[in-house]
Amino acid sequence: MLVTPMLNYFGYLFDGGNWSFAQGSIPHLLLQHVEYTLITLLIAAVIALPVGLLIGHTNRGALLAINIGNAGRALPTFGLLSLMVTLVGIGTLPVLVALVVLAVPPILTSTYAGIRAVDSAAVDAAVGMGMRPLQVLTRAEVPMALPLIMSGLRSALLQVCATATVAAYVGFGGLGRLLIDGLSTNHYDEVFAGAVLVALLAIVLDLLSAAVQRSIVSPGVRERRGRRHRGSSDAPMSDAPTSDAAMSETSEQTETRQQQVSTASTSR
């Protein structure tokens, strides 16, 4: 009894005919999906990275960045897409706009938070070494903020990959096609194939971006971060001679952690 329905659910996925490259076949939809995801991420990064760097570097407009981040997280992409389609009609533009709006906030907030979290002593040292403002940014702040910046890009990537399925609802391609078409024709094996493929694609993209992150983040920065994550227990006692200092240390840590939690979120 348990085996039969499972076989049915996997029917579409394991049907070789759906894998030969043709219009609407699984490889074709998969490729389309990756294409939408990457184009969106690129546009969003071009918008959000410079703004995030600027806000983080100058510390002006921080409130704006945080608010955009929060509002963006609350904005339902499907609603935005419906609105855009109703206003301008079906086309690439509404889909791209809706997805870019989704991808900008995580990149923006984590870039900003990453730059702000850079040890000010390191920045001072960079200035002291005679670096120009742009050099301070590109050679000191960005490399040290890279883990957080990358985590923003990765969560944007995940969200876009997940949400690009919605594009199929307004007649676009991508893996969402399987979900939407399967649902409307009651072919649940097709729906299931779409769901599994999107999930796998998301996981593969996340692993790939994790590998990219590992290769571009300086080992020194990674190490520091790792140690910090272990918590306050290994903070050297000599650094916190008075209980007052210890208190401010922990509350500062709590704040950083809270910031990490809210910036590293990967809502979809």
Binding site: P5, M6, Y9, N70, A71, R73, A74, L75, P76, F78, G79, L80, S82, L83, V85, T86, L87, L158, A162, T163, T165, V166, Y169, V170, G176, L179, I180, L183, Y188, V191, F192, G194, A195, V196, V198, A199, A202, I203, D206, H229, R230, G231, S232, S233, A246, M247, S248, T250, S251, Q253, T254, E255, R257, Q258, V261, S262, S265, T266, S267, R268
Partner: protein, 214 residues
């Protein structure tokens, strides 16, 4: 716009009500499961990495995909609201276990040693010292989970159970922007209200954190 709202009050209220229920119940369920599992990851450090990895993998599953996989796993109908609730509870769990584990880890050390020295037993130390101290960070995670759940529920509209998402499909089908705008505005407002609510709750629950920060 006003005419639309006036003529469709029942539908809008129903959609909002369903939205509240579909987004907040999972936060509760997910949190209830995440706290013990997060604590387990702290008590047994060997389990920390596997638990965090599991959360990461779950979190990378797209919502629409999860909404559609869950009925297969649970045997519920594709159109059952239960799918949405379980899926969002799973996300909340995935997001919060790591947060809970990290928050509780941050509390370890002097604070727990002090509690031990005062004669707190393990459970009392957890409930009376560790959880309250970890609350600000945990609630930051709950805020993120709540807000993201609220925006995710509307995706359920594909399956016919989407709270305010129903207004989006309706508007899309009729080529009519009023329901869409009402849906977006209510969704964002709901998220803002819940977010502020949790912040206020946190202030009530952790009065010391304000003193410390000031």
């Amino acid at each position: 716009m006003i005419d639309y709202i006036r003529n469709n009050q029942t539908i809008i209220w129903q959609a909002l009500g369903q939205h509240v229920y579909l987004s907040l119940l999972p936060v509760l369920l997910g949190t209830v499961v995440a706290v013990p599992v997060g604590y387990l990851a702290v008590r047994r450090p060997a389990l920390y990495q596997p638990i965090v990895n599991l959360g990461g993998v779950i979190y990378s599953i797209p919502s629409l995909a999860l909404f559609l996989i869950i009925p297969v796993v649970l045997g519920t109908g594709v159109l059952s609201p239960l799918n949405i609730i379980v899926a969002l509870a799973v996300y909340t769990f995935a997001l919060l276990t790591r947060t809970v584990a990290d928050a509780l880890t941050d509390v370890q050390g002097e604070t727990t040693q002090a509690a031990d020295a005062l004669g707190f037993r393990r459970l009392r130390r957890l409930v009376g010292v560790e959880i309250p101290m970890a609350l600000p960070v945990m609630l930051a995670g709950v805020r993120v989970a709540t807000v993201s759940n609220i925006s995710l529920v509307s995706v359920g509209a594909f399956l016919g159970v989407g709270g305010l998402g129903a207004l989006f499909t309706r508007g899309l089908q009729l080529g009519f922007i009023e329901p869409i705008i009402v849906g977006i505005v209510l969704s964002v407002l709901l998220a803002a209200v819940c977010d502020i609510g949790i912040v206020l709750l946190q202030r009530r629950l952790t009065p010391w954190s304000r003193v410390g920060a000031g």
